[in-house]
Amino acid sequence: MSTLRYAYYPGCASQEITKEANSTTRKVAGILGIELHDMPGANCCGAGLLTDYDRDLYLALNARIFAQAERMKMDIMTICSTCLMVMRSANHELRDRKVLERINRILSEAGLSYSGRVEIKHLLWVLVEDYGLESLRKKVKKPLTWLKIAPFYGCHTLRPSEVLGRDDPQNPSSLESIIKVLGGEVTEYRDKTKCCGFQVDLVSEDTAFEMTGRRLLSAKKNGGDCIVTPCPFCHINLDNYQEFAEKKVSQNIGMPVFHLAQIVGLSLGMSAEDLGLSRHLVSPEGIIR
């Protein structure tokens, strides 16, 4: 297998509030031999907020990110579901020649252009498809046999499936397949493809935290020891704001939540410190070995 190389787009959240997802991903990639190339000039994708302001501004700013990857001659890998959905939606729209021409006119004012040929992937897809589950299985040093892990997809790795297209939005399997390869037991529950509420944290917090609480309870009631999510925004709600969610649903939950890279790292033998676990508000240190 030739070396996998990606233009690495961690997303804004994982450069600040969920830094541990970023640092762990870099270490995991190092162990697996996946090359991640930084994009210091990459701007924010708009996180689904610029689409509420000006569609062409959103498309042009995303095209600027893609143009950088194009100059690097690499596809983009992100560790954020929302970045994935936003960038893939923009890229999908830019496949229309007329739209691409219109957006390139805007880009030309900044001395840039984009051809429309970059692919955008999530770490989740890179592990399952590009790196491969069998290769991953060979790297596992510490199978997670003692852990019941509830996969939480959230929204933006699945929907809209027209632009995401990797998993069946009604019956996804990529997270489950990774959990199994790492030796963990999958906890099945209905809420795994539902919304954590993040987008309205600041707009309508009652709605947001009620949603967060229901997802956590659903995972817990079905026997999960912990949750794993490919999305830093889901992590913010499920972990950082778990105490607010507990208040909203009037129950103690105490459910540790891992980033995808962290459970991979754990099975590769990385330490709690390397995984940045002290940064979590609900400590997972009691359930790791």
């Binding site: 804004c12 959240a13 450069q15 701007n43 302001y53 000006d54 508000l281």
Partner: protein, 317 residues
């Protein structure tokens, strides 16, 4: 082939009240048979008490939306065998987010009330006749496909926890009028929709767009309503402030400045209330600090893009 149908039922006239239970039926299914045809067969041959809504059988009337294997679909538009092959079973339930009247029939009164609330008819402009171009028509083309089956409302994440939320169907219908060049009451409509439980309460879970059987894309309509509300200067609400803070943050530093966004969205007083939790976040190294210096490389390109868009918009006005 024989396929086992599991159906969630309830009967309000029974002594136990409307306590739901699962009943199974074995149905002889032929190639191409739809879920609706199978249900009609069950009612005809096996159990005439099974209640469900249906009318046109060709995905136009919107009567037979129900949850098939966990997600809303039109029974008349879903073939049994492919669905069975995909999921290994056929499990039918009434639409979620609605009160069940009996078996697969839900009470759609809240759905129609929300629809009424948005004034679902054109309020013509005062200046009389106006020329409608093909492009104008295209703006509202998708939302006109709605057949009011309530699938979107039944999977709406916000409606699941907030029954007062106006919901994706009524929002898509709102765009039908706000996006119509002949409409004269857009601003008033947008002001009303910007209130609590309105267009800014959508969590962008994309359920509505994913599961609409007619490709209406309610989320896209919500985005358009939000853009239009901001253009109209209806920005004195947390949703619009949040977007505004993002627009400003990306222009300034090229990325999301979480501290500034929280502050600008919540305002000074509500931000003060966040301090005790902020201290806890700080202990775990999670407190976002305002970004003062670290701009992305090539921030000038971002600024050029913003200015180019502003010039285009000015020209259009």
């Amino acid at each position: 082939m024989k396929i086992r149908f599991k159906i969630r039922r309830c009967d309000p006239s029974s002594r136990e009240g409307c306590e739901p239970y699962i009943q199974a039926y074995n149905v002889e299914v032929s190639e191409g048979m739809t879920v609706l045809e199978a249900l009609i067969k069950i009612a005809d041959e096996d159990d005439p008490t099974l209640a469900f809504r249906r009318s046109c059988r060709s995905a136009i009337c919107g009567s037979c939306a129900m949850n098939i294997n966990g997600f809303p679909k039109l029974a008349c538009n879903t073939q049994v065998i492919p669905e069975y092959r995909k999921r290994g079973e056929i499990f039918i339930e009434p639409l979620a987010n609605h009160t069940v009247i009996r078996d697969l029939i839900v009470d759609l009164t809240p759905f129609w009330k929300k629809m009424e609330k948005i004034t679902p008819y054109l309020i013509p402009r005062e200046e009389g006749s106006i020329r409608v171009t093909k492009e104008d028509e295209r703006e509202i083309d998708r939302v006109q496909r709605c057949i009011m089956c309530a699938s979107c409302n039944s999977v709406c994440s916000t409606l699941e926890v907030d029954r007062q939320f106006i919901g994706p169907s009524a929002l898509a219908k709102s765009w039908r009028f706000v996006g119509d060049v002949r409409e004269g009451g857009s601003k008033r409509r947008l002001e009303r929709l910007s209130e609590e439980h309105g267009l800014w309460d959508c969590v962008r879970c994309v359920h509505c767009t994913e599961f609409c059987p007619k490709g209406v894309e309610p989320l896209r309509a919500i985005e358009r309503l939000r853009c239009r509300a901001m253009e109209e200067g209806i920005v004195d609400n947390e949703g619009a402030k949040h977007v505004d803070a993002m627009v400003d943050s990306v222009r300034r530093v090229g990325r999301l400045d979480e501290a500034a966004m929280t502050f600008r969205t919540l305002g000074f007083l509500r931000s003060l209330g966040m301090i005790p939790f902020g201290i806890k976040m700080e202990i775990h190294g999670k407190m976002p600090h305002p970004i003062i210096f670290p701009k992305i490389e090539g921030i000038d390109e971002v600024k050029h893009i913003y200015r180019a868009r502003e010039r285009e918009k000015e020209k259009k006005d």
